[in-house]
Symmetry: C2
Subunit: 637 residues, 2 copies
C-alpha cells in the first residue's frame, strides 16, 4: 500500500478486504434485524419455526436458492469494472462505504421524496447536497440534491432555467393585464428599469439574480394584492406551455417574444439533445460552440458567437460549460468563459451558466484544502485549476457521485447556487401564505421541485458515508482523483513512447485534463480513413466487453468513441502528422480508442513499472491480429 | 403461516427469516469475491496483509466503522414500513428476493444504459419488461423497461405520445416541402386518405397504429429518396420545439395546427402536472375529468367532454386512465373508457390511451392464471376485473415494481404495447441504414429511447429475481395482492362498525378497488369543516412518522390526504349523512385519513381476530385526546 489510504476504501482488485466488507454487511443486517424485533415484541412472530419446517416453506426457499444461484451465475458475465485492467468506460471499483451504506439503508427502504417517507435519509441527502455546494463554492443559500444520474440532473437544470428565463416576461404580461403600476427591476450596473417599459429582448436578458429578486418582489406584492398570485401562476411557462406563452406574450405585450437558444460545446453529451427535446424547446435550439486544440470551448469563437446572437437579437437561455467531457475528459475554461459573460452582461446580453460536471465535478476536491479554501498551487495544471476555481461564478452544476464519487448507481446530483431556483419549479407558488410547518428549505416534500417522484434513500446514505470516510478535499477525494490523473498522464506518455518493429503506431489524441485518454492505433501503410477506422474497430472489439466472451480471457478492457473531423479539427490537426491528418480531414468520423484511468489501484500497479508495458504488449499482439481483419473489412465496404 | 408461502418471501415482521437472509447475502458477497480473485490471479494482491496492519489502514477502517455506527444509529429513526402496524403510505416489507437480488448485482455495479456497461442486467431488465408486457396482454412486439419510478415513466410515456401526435403533421410539412407526391394514410374503417389533403384537425387525429405505420412507410421511402431522412429529422417536434413546430406547420400548410389537450381524472397525481410542465405543453393543457361515486372517471361525463372537444375542434393528445389512484386506490373503468374511445375513433376523434398503473399495475396478476390466461371469475369484484381485462386495448402502462411488486426503490417501469413507439424518441432515426450489429429490439444502447442516462442494473436483478420466485399470476403476486385487498375490505368494515360511547364516529369514504382505505373521524357535535379538519389533522399527527418521535412509541401508523369537496362530491355525498355533507359541501377541502393495507402479514394478523380491534382501540384513545386539541386549533383559526 502507498502512503494513501486507498487500500482501505475499496473491496480491492483481489477482494483483499473481503473479510472487512462481510463483517460490515452482516453487522448492518443484524442491526436492522434487531431493530425490527424491538418494534412491538408483544406481537410475537408471524412466521413460526414450525412454519419453517412446512413443505410450502421448504419448497419456496429452495426455489429462492435455486433462482439466486442462477442469478449469481449470470452475473459472472459482468464487466470487471473493479480491476485495474479495466480502463474503458467511466467505471471502476466502488467504495466500501458506498456498498455498506447503500445496503444498510436499503433494509429500511426509504423513499427520498418527503420526510414522511424517509425521515432519516432525506436529511442525509440534503446534507450531501450542502456538502457538494460547499465544495464548489456555492452559497450563501444553495440547493442541492441527488438524482438518478447526470441526464436527469441536466434535465432538471434546464427545466429550472426555462422557468427563470420566462419569469420576467410572465410578470410583464401580468403587470399589463392587472395594471399593477410600476414594477422595478434592478439590473445592477445597467440601472433600475420599469418592467412594462422593457422590450421583449430586454425581458429575455434580465440577469439571473435580478429575475430571482423580481420573484421575491412579486411574493411581497402578492401579500397585499390577492389578484396577483393566481394571475402569475396562470401565465408562467410551465402552465401555458411554450407555445401558449409566446402567443399570450405577443397578444398582451404587442411584440413577439424572441425564441432563446442554449449554447454548449460541440462535443455535447447526447443527454442535452434529449433534454432540449423533452422540454419542448427543440434540439434545434442548441447552438454548438467550436472547440480549441484541447477540445475545450474556444473562448475567442465563443465571443464571436455571442456577438452574432446579440446582433441578431437571439436571446441566450443558458451556456452549458463542461467539466470533464464524456468523450475527451476536457475541462472548459470556466474562468475565461465567466469573464466573457460579465462583459456581455454589461452590454445587455445576459445568460445563465450551467456546468455539466457529471464526470469532473468531484475533481474539484483536488483544489480544496481541508479548511475548504482553494489551494494556492496545484500539480494538475494551472489552466485546469483556474477553471475549477471559477466554479463559484457559475449558477448550477451537475455532478455524479456514481462517477468520480466512486459510489454505486443511482447517484447523480444537481446543485444550484441560489435556492430560490427550485421555487420556480413548484406547481403552485407560496404567494399567499407559507405553511407554518414548512420552514424555508424544509425537507417535508421535495417532489414538487424535482423531476423524479421516487428516489432511493439508500443512495443518499451511500454518498453520505463516502463523504464521511473520504473528505471532499486534497486529503480525500482530491488525493484519490489526483492519483488517477497522474496515472492517465503516464498512460498518455506510455502510448506516445510505443515503438513497434512492424511499424504500428499509437497516437494519443489528448493531454488529459482529468483521467481520460484518447488514442488511435495506426497500422503501417494505412491509405484511407475507412481502413484506419476498421483497424481501430477491430482492435476495440478485442478489448471490449461482450456477453459472448468469458470475462477471464481479457487482458485489458478499453472503450471507444468517435471524433468528428470537423468539430475536433484543432485538436486532431495539432496531434496527427500531415499525412494522417490528410486522411482524416475529409470531414469524416474517426474511430478513437478511449481509456478512463479511474481505478485507484492503477497508480499502485504503475509503481511496479510493468503495468503499461503489459498493456502495450497486449495492444501490439492484438494490432498484429487486427491488421489483416481490418484490411478485409475496409476493402469489403 | 397460512397456506400461502408469503412467510418465505419476506424478512418478516419480527425478522423471522433473518438467518435465511444472512446466508443469502453472505453467499452473494462471497460469490462475487471469488469471482474477482479469478480474474488475473497472477496480478497478486494490491492490498497486502502487512498493509492491513499499518497505522494508516487501521485509522481508515476505524473511521469507517465509527461512521457506519453513526449511520446505523440514525437509520433507526426510519419508518417501520415492514410492520403490519404500518398502514400509511404505499410502503411495506419488501421481498427477500429484491434485497438479495439487488445486493448481489450491485457488487458488479452495472449501469443499465447499454449492454457494454451492463452485459447481464440489461438482459434481465428487458426480460422483466417483456414479462410485464405479457402480464397486461401487450404484444406482439411490445417494449418495456425499468425507470427510477412512476413519475419518470409517466414523463417518458407522454414524451413519446407528443412525438407520435406530431408525427403525421411533420410528414405533412415534409411532403409539401419536398413535393413527395401522394402519401397515403390508412385510417381503418375511415378509409385511406392522402396526407396533404388532410386538415390540421384530421392530422391531429390519426390513430395510433396508423401513425406508426406511416412512420414505417417513411422509412421505406427514405431508402429510395435520400432527401427524406434529414428533412424529416429536421422538422419533428423534438427538433423544432413546440413553438417552432406550430409556426412551421402554419407557414407550410397554411392553417394553424390546433393545440392538443391531455385528459385525466380530476384526482390526477401531481406528477402529471410536472410532466405537462416539463414537456413544454403546459399544465394548463391538462383537462380534468369528473369522478363518479367510486372516484373513478365518470364515463358519461367523459363522453360529454369528448363531444365538447370535438365540437370545439380541440384535439386530444391522450387519455390518462388510472389503475389505482394514489389517494383513493380507485380503478378507472378501462373497459368502458375503451368502448367510448372506439366510438369516437369512428367519428374522427382519435387519441392515445396511457394507463397510470404505478400503484395498481401488479394487481393484474389477480386476474391471470399460470398459463397467462385471464381468469374467468374473480373474488375482487366484476367491475374491477373488467377494468383490468381491458388493459390489452390500451397503448401503454406505468407500473412500479417498487409499489405492489414489493421490490426496493428505485424500480418503476413503462411498457408500450408497440415497440415502434420508442423509435420516435431516438435522436436520429435510422432512416438510411440500420447498423448490422444492432438487431431490432437490440439491447446495445437504450439511452436514446429513455429519459434517464444511468440506471442501476441492480434494480433489474432485484425485480427479475422477485418475478422468478413469485409468479405474475394468481398463484404468486395475484394471491399476495389479493390477500391485501381482502384485508383492506375488512378494514373498511371494521371502521364502519366502530361504536363509541362518547359518540365519535369513523366513516369510510371508499369501497376499496384495491388495498387503500380512506376514512374520516368525526367528533360528536362537530359544527364546522374547519373543526372537522383540525380534528383529523390532530389525529393524523398522532399516527404519523415524525423524526422527533421514537419509532417504538407508535402503535399504528397512518397517512393522510385531502378530498376536494367539489371533485369528490359524488363519492362524499353517497357516504356522508346530510348534516355532515352540509358542512363539507361549501367547496372546501376535507382532510382524510388514508391507509394502504399493503403488508402481507396483515391478513395473518386478522386471523387472530384482534388486529383491527387494536387499531380501533388506538383510534378511540387518540380521538379522545385529539378532540380538545382540535377544538382549540379550529377556534384559533
Amino acid at each position: 500500500m502507498t502512503q494513501h489510504h486507498f487500500g482501505s476504501l475499496f473491496l480491492g482488485p483481489a477482494a483483499e478486504n473481503a473479510d472487512l466488507v462481510e463483517r460490515f454487511v452482516v453487522e448492518a443486517l443484524r442491526d436492522h434485524v434487531f431493530w425490527r424485533r424491538n418494534f412491538h415484541p408483544e406481537d410475537g412472530t408471524f412466521i413460526t419455526e414450525r412454519d419453517k419446517r412446512s413443505e410450502a416453506y421448504e419448497t419456496a426457499t429452495s426455489t429462492m436458492r435455486q433462482e439466486l444461484y442462477q442469478l449469481l451465475s449470470r452475473l459472472k458475465h459482468g464487466a470487471p469494472f473493479f480491476s485495474p485492467r479495466y480502463i474503458g468506460h467511466m467505471a471502476s471499483d466502488t467504495m466500501i462505504a458506498s456498498l455498506v451504506g447503500y445496503f444498510a439503508a436499503m433494509l429500511y427502504n426509504p423513499n427520498n421524496i418527503s420526510e414522511e417517507a424517509a425521515p432519516v435519509t432525506m436529511e442525509l441527502e440534503l446534507e450531501v447536497g450542502a456538502q457538494l455546494a460547499e465544495l464548489v463554492g456555492y452559497g450563501p443559500a444553495p440547493w442541492g440534491h441527488l438524482t438518478s444520474g447526470g441526464s436527469v440532473a441536466n434535465l432538471e437544470a434546464l427545466w429550472a432555467v426555462r422557468a427563470l428565463k420566462y419569469f420576467a416576461p410572465a410578470v410583464a404580461i401580468v403587470a399589463r393585464e392587472l395594471e399593477l403600476g410600476p414594477v422595478w427591476v434592478d439590473l445592477g450596473a445597467r440601472g433600475r428599469v420599469e418592467l412594462t417599459s422593457m422590450s421583449a429582448w430586454a425581458l429575455m436578458n434580465v440577469p439571473v439574480e435580478a429575475a430571482l429578486d423580481l420573484r421575491d418582489a412579486m411574493l411581497r406584492l402578492a401579500a397585499v394584492d390577492p389578484r396577483l398570485a393566481p394571475a402569475l401562476d396562470a401565465v408562467i411557462v410551465g402552465q401555458l406551455g411554450v407555445l401558449g406563452f409566446h402567443r399570450r406574450f405577443e397578444r398582451v405585450c404587442g411584440e413577439p417574444l424572441p425564441e432563446p437558444v442554449v449554447l454548449l460545446p460541440s462535443t455535447k453529451h447526447y443527454s442535452w439533445v434529449k433534454v432540449a427535446n423533452i422540454l419542448g424547446l427543440g434540439a434545434g435550439q442548441l447552438v454548438e460552440l467550436p472547440l480549441d486544440a484541447q477540445y475545450r470551448i474556444d473562448v475567442t469563437r465563443f465571443e464571436a458567437v455571442l456577438h452574432e446572437l446579440d446582433a441578431a437579437r437571439v436571446p441566450v437561455m443558458a451556456l452549458v460549460a463542461v467539466l470533464g467531457a464524456t468523450e475527451t475528459g476536457s475541462v472548459d475554461r470556466l474562468d475565461r468563459l465567466m469573464a466573457v459573460r460579465a462583459q456581455f452582461e454589461g452590454r445587455g446580453l445576459s445568460f445563465y451558466t450551467h456546468v455539466d460536471g457529471a464526470y469532473g465535478g468531484y475533481a474539484t476536491a483536488m483544489f480544496k484544502d481541508p479548511q475548504g479554501r482553494w489551494v494556492g498551487w496545484s500539480p494538475y495544471g494551472s489552466e485546469v485549476a483556474a477553471s475549477f476555481k471559477a466554479l463559484p461564478a457559475t449558477d448550477s452544476l451537475t455532478v455524479d457521485p456514481h462517477k468520480l464519487g466512486y459510489t454505486h448507481y443511482p447517484a447523480g446530483a444537481i446543485v444550484f447556487k441560489d435556492q430560490r431556483m427550485r421555487e420556480l419549479l413548484a406547481a403552485a407558488a407560496p404567494y399567499v401564505f407559507i405553511d407554518a410547518d414548512e420552514e424555508p428549505g424544509g425537507t417535508h416534500a421535495i417532489g414538487q421541485y424535482i423531476v423524479e417522484g421516487s428516489k432511493p434513500g439508500a443512495a443518499a446514505a451511500a454518498v453520505w458515508l463516502c463523504h464521511r470516510v473520504n473528505p471532499l478535499d486534497v486529503t480525500g477525494y482530491g488525493a484519490l482523483i489526483g492519483a488517477t490523473v497522474t496515472s492517465a498522464r503516464a498512460l498518455k506518455e506510455a502510448l506516445a513512447g510505443f515503438d513497434s518493429p512492424e511499424g504500428f503506431r499509437l497516437i494519443p489524441l489528448n493531454d488529459p485534463d482529468l483521467n481520460l485518454v484518447n488514442f488511435i492505433a495506426v497500422p503501417p501503410g494505412v491509405t484511407s480513413l475507412a481502413e484506419l477506422n476498421a483497424f481501430n474497430e477491430a482492435l476495440f472489439r478485442r478489448f471490449a466487453t461482450n456477453p459472448e466472451r468469458v470475462v477471464f480471457t481479457y487482458d485489458f478492457l478499453l472503450s471507444k468513441t468517435e471524433f468528428d473531423a470537423e468539430k475536433h479539427q484543432a485538436g486532431l490537426q495539432a496531434r496527427l502528422d500531415p499525412a494522417l491528418w490528410a486522411l482524416v480531414a475529409g470531414g469524416g468520423r474517426l474511430t478513437v480508442l478511449r481509456s478512463t484511468v479511474m481505478n485507484p489501484f492503477i497508480a499502485q500497479a504503475l509503481e511496479s513499472g510493468h503495468f503499461f508495458q503489459a498493456l502495450l504488449k497486449a495492444l501490439a499482439v492484438e494490432m498484429r491480429a487486427a491488421a489483416p481483419e481490418a484490411t478485409r473489412t475496409a476493402v469489403g465496404r
